[in-house]
Symmetry: D2
Subunit: 414 residues, 4 copies
Amino acid sequence: MALAHIPRPKSKPDLRTTRKLISLCHDLLSDGNGVRAAEAIRLFETLDQPGRLAFFDVLIRDFSPSPEDVARIAEDYRLDPSPGNLKRLQQIVEPPRQELFRRLNMAAGGTRKLIEMRAFVLAETESHPELEPIADDLGHLLGSWFNSGFLTLERIDWNSPAVVLEKLIEYEAVHQIQGWHDLRRRLEADRRCYGFFHSALPNEPLNFIEVALTRGMSDKIQPLIDPDAPVSDPIAADSAIFYSITNCQPGLRGVPLGGSLIKQVVEDLRKSLSRLRTFATLSPIPGFRDWLAQEHPNLLDEPQPESKQRLLSLCAWYLLHVKRDSEPLDAVARFHLRNGARVERINWMADPSPVGIRQSEGLMANYVYELNDLQRNHELYAHGGDIPASGRMERLARQVGKNKNPNWLTRHFG
Amino acid sequence: MALAHIPRPKSKPDLRTTRKLISLCHDLLSDGNGVRAAEAIRLFETLDQPGRLAFFDVLIRDFSPSPEDVARIAEDYRLDPSPGNLKRLQQIVEPPRQELFRRLNMAAGGTRKLIEMRAFVLAETESHPELEPIADDLGHLLGSWFNSGFLTLERIDWNSPAVVLEKLIEYEAVHQIQGWHDLRRRLEADRRCYGFFHSALPNEPLNFIEVALTRGMSDKIQPLIDPDAPVSDPIAADSAIFYSITNCQPGLRGVPLGGSLIKQVVEDLRKSLSRLRTFATLSPIPGFRDWLAQEHPNLLDEPQPESKQRLLSLCAWYLLHVKRDSEPLDAVARFHLRNGARVERINWMADPSPVGIRQSEGLMANYVYELNDLQRNHELYAHGGDIPASGRMERLARQVGKNKNPNWLTRHFG
Amino acid sequence: MALAHIPRPKSKPDLRTTRKLISLCHDLLSDGNGVRAAEAIRLFETLDQPGRLAFFDVLIRDFSPSPEDVARIAEDYRLDPSPGNLKRLQQIVEPPRQELFRRLNMAAGGTRKLIEMRAFVLAETESHPELEPIADDLGHLLGSWFNSGFLTLERIDWNSPAVVLEKLIEYEAVHQIQGWHDLRRRLEADRRCYGFFHSALPNEPLNFIEVALTRGMSDKIQPLIDPDAPVSDPIAADSAIFYSITNCQPGLRGVPLGGSLIKQVVEDLRKSLSRLRTFATLSPIPGFRDWLAQEHPNLLDEPQPESKQRLLSLCAWYLLHVKRDSEPLDAVARFHLRNGARVERINWMADPSPVGIRQSEGLMANYVYELNDLQRNHELYAHGGDIPASGRMERLARQVGKNKNPNWLTRHFG
Amino acid sequence: MALAHIPRPKSKPDLRTTRKLISLCHDLLSDGNGVRAAEAIRLFETLDQPGRLAFFDVLIRDFSPSPEDVARIAEDYRLDPSPGNLKRLQQIVEPPRQELFRRLNMAAGGTRKLIEMRAFVLAETESHPELEPIADDLGHLLGSWFNSGFLTLERIDWNSPAVVLEKLIEYEAVHQIQGWHDLRRRLEADRRCYGFFHSALPNEPLNFIEVALTRGMSDKIQPLIDPDAPVSDPIAADSAIFYSITNCQPGLRGVPLGGSLIKQVVEDLRKSLSRLRTFATLSPIPGFRDWLAQEHPNLLDEPQPESKQRLLSLCAWYLLHVKRDSEPLDAVARFHLRNGARVERINWMADPSPVGIRQSEGLMANYVYELNDLQRNHELYAHGGDIPASGRMERLARQVGKNKNPNWLTRHFG
């Protein structure tokens, strides 16, 4: 994603190239053609950051629908809501830059360039919110192109090309991979790794998931990511633990890929390893400590041994009952619950690393993926906000919840 | 494309299944998911023709934008043409069935099914013009998905899978392939065949082009398609003659694939056979006789030897000067001129088959593809209506054109 | 195998080319090198049949061990049977042409050429028995190179390249394939076809086997090879019937490939279709009628209805008890029994075609491949000559056998 | 090659398993069969080093030809040197273990196991010279199986599977690869790496060669192997420098693979990079210093600046005139001269590493591969011992050689 990190010189934007590029874009629109698309992309790549901002500025100004035309055709449609008028309205509200992007895609490697372009735009939107329509337009296109019907699930292992493997090292952020020795351990016989790929981006994983095959549902992260852990026999495993899921393409932010990945991986694992009974994650609880710090700040000062049970209960409460709108406050919980998973267990000192302590006092959660329940769970969650959980989790949470008095927590734990 | 030819029973449409399918479509929209998409497609496939028509009827009625909502948001936009309001307007004018189609695509093999669905709809639009929006919506989606950046050019030869080859036999309509013996001749050392493929439709050519490698620019079709013609040495050839181009997917009608195919084939041939100098078609002139019958009916009764020169001149005139709007009346001419080709030559008795006589009195045309000129030709044609032609063609046409007197033709040839 | 059928002109052999080739072979031996190997093969291919015979004549005369050297070193070895002397003896008895053939193999496509060369030699040995050492030397090499560890089993179906499929049509001799329509039926969902391939001969099946998936063990060949038979559901099948096995390479005659093919196919089918219970052949009994004509000529004149039971008994007797050396007289029986199969059943009017009547009065046999028994059956057969058979077969044969009187047959059936 | 390094316990060999294995080998010989082959290999792998030695001891004693039989049939042949008697003699002198090895190859992965077995035997022959016949037998088989007609040249780059790439790191011994960072540099755009592969050993390079694309013929090794050297444009290169060639399979020692590799790589490079003019090595001169130490020990004590010219002359003399039998004493020179290369240049301080100094006082040689001359050079060298060299090399050597006086060197340089 080098595009997102180009240096930002103080100098004036390279407006001459930008103007040339804009002129080329007009030609390209009037006359779609792979040769011109390649030339336009080449020019774009030579632009520095101010030049690019100037380019997108023109795209927003000059490659947007004309408000007057839109208003006129909208009025036509209001007077006569016929299919013909609707079609004209649909056409007029689509910004011409959308078609421009489709034509840029005709160049060899064009799709990759559009993804990089969106990554650049997304990185700029904080300081340049006016670029959002560009990010939206590209997001709409890419969402359509990266429809899960066009993705293929591939197993990634030590037989995969190095050019794929180095991307795992580069992108993995949850539990960083410390070079090739560490990577190799994560691809041994008792581990699995899968990614989604798109035919337009060969050897470029869109996302990937790391799985450990274990006996019993893991309650500690360290043994799963220890590069020197002994390799166990995958045939003897009864559990598949999803311990990391990573998106590789910042330019595809917002394009839904992950849930479908886990479901397909569960199905593939079931077929190839018939003894597997449990499919579960070992997940961080990224928002727990922040919530705790805000709601029960005094708890964080206590010596841990005394507070263990309180923290477990509060964490169960946090996952099952602390919501924003109708969904859990915790982002990871939201992700797995939307997929139809169940909150199964929270584990004490599961991640004693500085990051683990900072995020969640070392706690991690297991979310269980039961293929037969996914659809039902998902629907109950999506429509009613129901959070499926194990009895154990509910009992833990109840230790907090049964006391309705708002001061209870403070009194009880404080 | 079996879908387009299902029998039409007199019985009442299978409304129970249709209703079930519609309900499934609502679920699918609220909650995208490959399993449901597969089930919806399965249900659709069990519907008979009236059931399908009923289904599409509901899609038009209930999965269209609400005119009231559209009018309201269009008014918001008129008052404040902000990006936010434009985005809302864009969202509201997109029919929900568009998103439904995207979700159907998530099923395994979904893309193929959507193409078949559009083929069915297109076949019905003549008697059911109200289905046109469905064809348009699907066409818009497929046009985006089958962007030429997602297509791969593949050579088709005797090493190709039989499942691909039988499709050549099935689809070729210009110069029909009479079984495997004929097919094999068309894939011998002095022939080339290429097709475009999409990763979602493995072993399914979207279109294909047939090429003969010859010495000199061919002026007769028969030697090119004679299944028993001797095989010549491709290394010795100086000309590549494109003698047939076929679209295989009725459901992709209107999605532009062909021009890009020829250009990429010319480039591939240039790389692999460095002695090739001429890249030209040997093309039918499908509208010539109809035009002649209307404009110069008496000419058709003449004994041919006398009329040869007159017919050649008139045909040159027909190709270079007889237009509809600003383009040639002849559909094949329009196709090649849009691609940037040049009208090079017309050939007497090039196709003496009944079809050839009926279409064009046996005449065929060579259009030359000069890689360096394609872009310029295309632009002159697209913007000014200029038709690039050889001197010979222009001289031939001039024999007709120089006489401005509208009765000239009648007098001269009549 | 065009090599084997070159025309035989009356003219004198092309000795000049032969001499050039021989000289090249000497160079090649002194200095192995792919370029020279390719040139030698090219020269050989230009030779007519007498030229080739002359070439092989030189190979036998001049590229054989020297009897004197052999005798001398054999004497050394007799006096001192040390490893060093044995090694020298091994080296001296290997004809230099063996190393020559290894070096010819270094040319691109050399392996294929050596197979064709052996096919030529085998075709000539009847009239030129002095060529046998050449056939033996090549056979020894090819036997080592086509060790089953170097072969890969591949499924052949409608996705296979046409260049492979046309070879099925070309080579199948047991139940000839009548063109592509017939071929396609043999590759439908309820049929399977597998072949062995070697990496040096891409797209060239060494042999192949045709399988029908049926309900019940087939007792008639016609439904299995009827190109218009309805396609049944392979999932519902309980039996896999091997109805044809074909060797494609005359030049590999004597190199054992077939038995290993059937065993691997049985294993692959068991994995992919778990409902299959019976793995059996439906095989010709090629020697039955000849034997009958010799032993019981009068039986062949009887009207069939009366003789059905007698023929069945005699056929069972023929398969189980009529031997040459210690093995059954019937070649097909020998093949399957060596593989460890069991004689299960003979079927009346199973092949009423002229060939079927001529070979075996229309009878065909089922040999059952029971994976668990193959090894034991094979050993009992190989070491003791035991012929495993079903009880039914043994009872049938006993109707003949229990009468020890040599005239019984004549009296009983005559 | 873990097999070669198994621990050697003091305990008695595991004779029970050895006996079981020997019995299995007898069965395997009487009845070839993949299942038994796999079992035999499995047993062999469980044997410790003494058990293996005991096993090979039996192979030598009991799976060798019987001297009596050999003597008898040799006598038959002496009396009647007919093809039949020769064939019997050939059969009797082949040790039965040779056929045993062929049958072991029938197991899945058998070829790899036989290569490992030979690696083990070769590693033992120094202390157990009686194992040599085993190494010879396996070498003979593998030499036939790894005929260059069965090898495929493959480019190795960053798209290759990690399982291949890690073998480069593991095996490269000339200029060791320091981990993945170093490896990646050696596979960048201005580097090439090729290996030979055999279909029976997927993802297992048999050998590989490393090439640097440069401007001018390299005279220093360091810039070629510096992991942080800047990447240059391969299109601009005029020279391909072969700076390392490595055999990966100790079990294939003596099977000729390398010369053919270089020639094929030169051809492939010429096709893909048309500007390349020079194909040359940058090679160590491993025997120079040892020779110098023996012949001119005093020279090694001199301060270098003074001795530079003397050393260069002596090194040229060493390469062109110091021979053992009819070939150069220097092993690397022998290898390249057999391939038909020319001694082009020696380079001062080309490898100033400790190894470079120790081997050759820092000197390295360029051998030039001129495709058109390879065959002729090779023949002149092979038959007459001619060493092709550049004029510069000959002049350098002449400074030593022209003085015939045996004391010249001492006087002149001493």
